[in-house]
């Protein structure tokens, strides 16, 4: 996982071995391509870099034309952001993210088992159902959700978000976990069964250790989605249960003219998922494509 490249060395062969005839010409081309790749990577990343850089500026360094690259860094903006209510928002986000992810795993792992290794009849229909809920736009359901949540006096309650985030991530988790379960060799299960292990024991002692990296990747993907979620949060929370994205929006309304402070807030909001995403980068596609692509 992490940042390692996964291509086997042979995968680069088509690019290199068929190209230019003379080795020198080939290596010049490679150097140029490497430089281009680095430049493109840096250009794409630059806004993020700039955001983090600006977060360490004084306000008057943030407002310059031409933009300033060198300045005396300060932590003042972070302090001010934390002083103006980011703390509770971070805690809310952390709670909603972690608890919903745990719930998702609790529900998804057995469900994925039941649509892969020990399948129920109509497995395909079940899978279809799960994925189709993901295709339904949340905006089409938000009105009654709001009405019901309001009736239950659960508006601005962090548990409301926990429940909704669990429902939001559950289908992805079921599909992803299923694709990991299917990688477990059938012979392994048959061996466990011949050795006399019960279904539960097989699951716990044979299957789970094999798929644990998959569970970790699934959890990270759920964390990313839950942390970044905004639509549900902005509609169903206010001062009490507001998460980081909600805080960020209120912050831009009140502090819209202070670039450095905004960048500090945005950095705080984005940092946790960026790190999770870097760790999970090899499984990102698998999660987002419902396990269809590895």
């Amino acid at each position: 996982m992490s940042t390692s490249t996964t291509t086997p060395p042979a995968a680069s062969a088509p690019a290199t071995s068929h190209t230019a005839s003379a080795p020198s010409k080939r290596s010049t081309g490679n150097v140029i391509m490497a430089i281009v790749s680095w430049v493109v990577g840096i250009v794409f990343f630059f806004p993020v870099f700039w955001m983090v850089l600006t977060a360490f500026k004084q306000e008057n360094d943030a407002y310059t034309n031409p933009p300033k690259l060198f300045f005396t860094p300060t932590l003042e903006q972070f302090k001010e952001v934390l002083a103006s209510g980011a703390g509770p928002a971070l805690l809310n986000s952390l709670f909603a993210t972690v608890v919903s992810t745990l719930l998702v795993l609790l529900l998804a792992v057995p469900a994925a088992f039941a649509v892969s290794l020990r399948p129920v009849e109509k497995t395909k229909d079940v899978l279809f159902f799960f994925i189709s809920t993901k295709m339904l736009p949340i905006v089409a359901a938000i009105v009654p959700i709001y009405v019901v949540v309001n009736e239950l006096h659960a508006v601005d309650n962090i548990w409301t978000l926990v429940v909704l985030y669990t429902a939001m991530n559950l289908p992805i988790a079921v599909w992803m976990m299923r694709s990991f379960f299917l990688e477990v060799p059938g012979a392994l299960l048959e061996a466990a069964s011949i050795d006399g292990a019960s279904v539960w024991r097989t699951m716990r002692e044979v299957v789970l250790p094999v798929v644990s990296p998959g569970i970790a990747a699934t959890a990270l993907i759920c964390v990313i989605f839950a942390w970044n979620e905004f639509f549900i949060a902005v509609n169903l929370t206010a001062a009490q249960a507001g998460t980081v994205p909600v805080f960020l929006v209120s912050f831009i309304t009140s502090e819209g003219l202070y670039f450095a402070k905004l960048c500090a807030a945005a950095t705080l909001a984005a940092l946790p998922v960026v790190i999770c995403g870097w760790i999970a980068q090899n499984k990102l596609v698998q999660g987002l494509s419902f396990g269809a692509v590895k």
Binding site: A13, S17, H18, T19, S21, A22, P23
Partner: protein, 361 residues
Amino acid sequence: MAEVVYDHASRIYTPGARPAVNELDLSVEDGEFVVFVGPSGCGKSTALRMLAGLEDINDGAIRIGGKNMVGVPSRDRDIAMVFQNYALYPNKTVGENMAFPLKMRGLSKTEQDQKVKAAAATLGLTEFLDRKPRALSGGQRQRVAMGRAIVREPQVFLMDEPLSNLDAKMRVGTRAEIAALQQRLGVTTIYVTHDQVEAMTMGDRVAVLKLGELQQFATPAELYDRPKNAFVAGFIGSPAMNLFEVPVADDGASLGGATVPLTSEQRSAISNAGLSTVTLGIRPEQWTTSGAGSKGVSAQVTVVEELGSDAFLYGTLVTDPSQTIVVRAAGKSGAKIGDKITLNTTDSALHLFHPESGERL
């Protein structure tokens, strides 16, 4: 069609480490069928891929029809290759797969069709031309891969273990078909396999490789009768040749309490090399068996492989149970596990190798 020359060609992945192929030096004649054989990691596939342009030639040269191929991309080498896993284009039909090399050379559609149809007829693929590879069986896919190679009428065919994904029976049948096809087309062919039976049955000449080094390049009969070293002796032939390290006596070699007679030339070769021990090689069929108690090498049978026409007896020497021995006996001889047998050889063509270098004496 052309001859192929490896001129001290080397493939070095990591400078300083053992080369994957070290100064391979051999010439393949025009129209010849040559097999590269050896255990895994011997460099046979690498050597083939160097010829194909899929691996760099780090040192030396490879020439096809007299033209140096160093730095020439695969597409300009006028070769065709059959890959181990066939490497069919999954999105193209059988017909399109076979037409692809022609299309890439800019042949007209009618010419493509004509050649593909002819090749398909030769290989019995006519009815599958519109199918996708995934709808074919393993044997059919193998034929498509062959077809894609022959439509081109290239200068050289390269085949990288093309039969290894077929079941045993089909492998034997296809083996004969490939050999016959090559005979008919007369195209220079280099064929890589790890299976010495394939090598012996198919090749005009066989190159045996080990750890990147060419061991011997000769006809199958020569390899069998006069292996250049102990490795080739042990690798070619099934079951493998018996190899014993034995002390040399006056009139022969001492083995299992008996003396195996050696010819005067063999004895003088040993004394010229100044050796007191020697590696003695005896093929399973060079033994004659008799019952217990007679004069000769006595052994105890541990395994009997009854094949009907003949039987292979595996055993250990009575004088040294750690020393195993293989004997070909007549079929249905009635030998049983635990039997004591006596072995003799009258064959003058026994093999002697240097006990350290393994070179033939």
